[in-house]
């Protein structure tokens, strides 16, 4: 992406987090943060596929994310849940988890050892946009309403993501994006055309559900989204009723419906079964026309669960860290920029950001959904 080569962080003997082939490692506490290879002790920031992998000996994650983690990694895992802000000692290193605003149960990992504090952010949502352009909310920052909002944690070194680490990524207030989606859905409903809205099944789908105007018409979801909706509802997040498409008593209501599904259904038999639908994709990548074209969808809605450029900058400043280590995204750009701002900056190369939502299709629901779809277009 960038012409610049990544600039690795200068490792020091007393660093609290270092790079290892298995993942980001804390030598003092002998544990890993979001490792991609099997290790004995893993601290997980959140349950997306690129951060939560299988096969670790013991897991430490937020209590809120436990349900989703067990659904995705299996009931048998050894998982210790921590409330936000609750601290635990791991080999003399104090570990606590703090809200990151990315998805349900997402956390930043705060590590304290001998008076030095490091924070690994995982993925986080901070937007440079205000929650509304006018009215009482004007001036307050936009937040993800389906999970605990990002809380800056003071630290000496901040490990930040950089998924949207370019100044071209500036989110609009999400009320505006939701208004666009509502207008699109209402127009489709008036034409008797299903509205197929694509978004990652964990996080984005629920944010869409919580944000759209459910009075426009019925809402249905793909089989991969439903278990995650259940997890959000169990955690106390209010979502409008959204049965699975397969459970609808009368498929004709699909013509006025909003159908929320993971992006992988685009072009599939399942999607064709909906009929002549208009498709939209909700993602931060939809900011660029080129990306919208490449995805081949009718509409792109710029809605991300990651921080935009102003959000990244304000999050970094809020930690008051003097050292910043940049991971997954535009590392080289962010490092050069942060150095210009007078910070000590480097990068870690990680496997985060690859196949963000691979875990989107739990085996059971996928198996259940696809043959049903295949049958309907069979020779019968």
């Amino acid at each position: 992406v960038s012409a610049e080569a990544p600039q690795p962080a200068d490792a020091r003997s007393d660093d609290l987090v270092v790079e290892r082939p298995e993942g980001l490692y804390c030598p003092q506490g002998d544990f890993y943060i979001d490792p991609w290879r099997p290790v004995s002790r893993a601290v997980l920031t959140h349950a997306h596929g690129d951060h939560a992998s299988r096969g670790h000996g013991a897991y430490l994650a937020t209590t809120v994310s436990a349900g989703v983690l067990r659904t995705r990694l299996g009931d048998h895992i050894t998982l210790q849940g921590l409330d936000y802000g609750e601290a635990v000692l791991v080999n003399g290193v104090k570990v606590s988890l703090h809200p990151a605003g990315h998805v349900l149960g997402s956390a930043q990992v705060r590590i304290e050892h001998r008076g030095r504090i490091w924070v690994a952010s995982g993925d986080y949502f901070v937007s440079g946009a205000s929650s509304s352009t006018d009215g009482p909310g004007a001036g307050t920052p936009d937040v993800n309403h389906t999970c605990a909002p990002f809380e800056p944690v003071r630290c000496h070194c901040f490990i930040t993501e950089s998924t949207f680490g370019l100044p071209i990524y500036r989110w609009r207030p999400q009320v505006q994006v939701m208004a666009q989606i509502n207008a699109w859905w209402a127009a489709n409903a008036a034409l008797g055309r299903p509205s197929l809205l694509l978004g990652y099944s964990f996080g984005k789908a629920q944010r869409l559900l919580a944000g759209v105007d459910a009075r426009i018409g019925p809402i249905a979801v793909h089989g991969a989204v439903e278990p995650l909706n259940a997890a959000y509802r169990a955690a106390g997040v209010r979502l409008p009723p959204a049965p699975r498409v397969g459970d609808l008593p009368d498929r004709s209501i699909l013509r006025q419906a909003l159908v929320i599904a993971p992006p992988s259904v685009l072009g599939s038999v399942w999607a064709r079964r909906l009929g002549d639908s208009s498709d939209g994709f909700a993602s931060g990548w939809m900011q660029l026309r080129g990306a919208r074209r490449r995805h081949g969808v009718d509409r792109g809605f710029v809605l991300s669960d990651h921080a935009d450029w102003p959000g990244l900058q304000s999050a970094i400043i809020a930690t008051q860290a003097e050292r910043v280590i940049v991971t997954h995204g535009y590392e080289a750009v962010m490092v050069r920029w942060l150095r210009q701002q007078g910070l000590e900056a480097g990068s870690f190369s990680t496997r985060f950001g690859e196949h963000e939502d691979d875990g989107a299709l739990p085996a059971a629901t996928a198996a259940e959904e696809v043959p049903a779809a295949a049958r309907s277009v069979g020779p019968a």
Binding site: A3, I168, L288, R289, D298, R336
Partner: protein, 334 residues
């Protein structure tokens, strides 16, 4: 500008021609005529000469966004489009303007031409602050002459015809020359474009847009709406008929037609110098607009044909395209 930006979004978002035409018709129905006139100009492919150098735009954007050139370059590499890059890196506009497209183009964009660079920078930065990202993108595309959206001239003609209840072929004919660089779209020109077929003086109004005098293109006063307007043809293949079956329709002496290949037939004026059209206005016609011929002229006024190789002329070199033209539909002509 907001309305035009919404139209752009609707056109950009849709892949169906039916949806696009519907969006265009809706726009023409809602927009003030002076804005719609400019919209027709841009949608039909009109490009005003670039009023601001790219380097100035880039520098002004970097300064406004508070970023260095290297970071701008990184963004540009990710986006792949200068106007879109600038539109996104700028902070959100402070006072969104309600000005229409015509006001933006005439008073903000075209007025920049010839100003001192410092003044140009100040004005463009002020303009950015009055637009959201979508509006800025469009403004920059209009400034840079790179405006395009998935709409063909044909679709614009169809939408205009639907909007005004006219024959699409008539609209197509009237649209010839609409995007001429010297013609300024205006409410009056749009009115002429959309006037009922029989309205008198329409040809004069259109001709005036070309910078042609009140006398009309060939010295006669414009008696009907198509006086002087070439007829855009859409034939699948070249007409095989002999040119002697075609008579010229005006006092000048056109004697041939385009055949779309490298060798072109062009009218020979009375002075013997090859030209491609009627009078001064003709110089601005693109090769997709063609000479108009009336078949079955009264005996004794048959045109003489002579072949002129226009491909070597400076005008032809820049304007030559593969196209085919032949006779128009109109038969008897006084």
């Amino acid at each position: 500008m907001r309305r035009f930006a919404d139209l752009y979004d609707a056109l950009d978002a849709s892949t169906g021609t039916g949806d696009k035409v519907a969006a265009l018709v809706r726009y023409f129905g809602e927009a003030p005529p002076e804005d719609a006139a400019w919209a027709v100009y841009f949608l039909a492919g009109g490009k005003p000469r670039q009023v601001l150098p790219t380097a100035l735009l880039r520098e002004a954007a970097c300064r406004r966004a508070g970023i260095d050139d290297w970071l701008f370059e990184e963004c540009y590499q990710a986006v792949g489009d200068l106007a879109e890059t600038i539109a996104h890196i700028l902070p959100a506009g402070q006072h969104i303007s309600n000005a229409g497209l015509a006001e933006w183009v005439e008073q903000r964009v075209l007025a920049l031409r010839g100003l001192a660079p410092a003044e140009q920078t100040a004005r463009i930065v002020a303009a950015w602050d009055e637009l959201d990202a979508g509006g800025r993108f469009l403004l920059l595309k209009l400034i840079g002459g790179g405006f395009r959206v998935g709409v063909s001239k044909l679709l614009v003609q169809r939408a205009l015809a639907l909007h005004a209840g006219l024959d699409a072929k008539l609209v197509a004919q009237r649209l010839v020359g609409w995007t001429d660089a010297r013609a300024t779209p205006s409410a009056a020109r749009l009115q002429a474009l959309l006037a009922p077929p029989a309205a008198a003086g329409v040809g004069g109004a259109i001709g005036a847009g070309f910078g042609v005098g009140p006398g009309g293109l060939d010295g006669r006063s414009p008696a009907s709406e198509d006086s002087g307007q070439p007829y855009p043809f859409f034939l699948a293949h070249a007409l095989q008929a002999d040119s002697k079956h075609f008579a010229r329709r005006s006092a000048s002496r056109p004697t041939g037609w385009w055949n779309g290949s490298t060798t072109a037939y062009a009218p020979r004026s009375s002075s013997g110098v090859a030209s491609c059209g009627y009078g001064r206005a003709a110089k601005s016609w693109s090769a997709t607009a063609f000479l108009r011929w009336s078949p079955r002229r009264p005996a004794g006024r048959t045109a003489r044909s002579s072949m002129v190789n226009c491909s070597s002329g400076p005008m032809m070199r820049s304007r030559r395209r593969r196209s085919t033209c032949c006779s128009s539909e109109s038969g008897a002509r006084p």
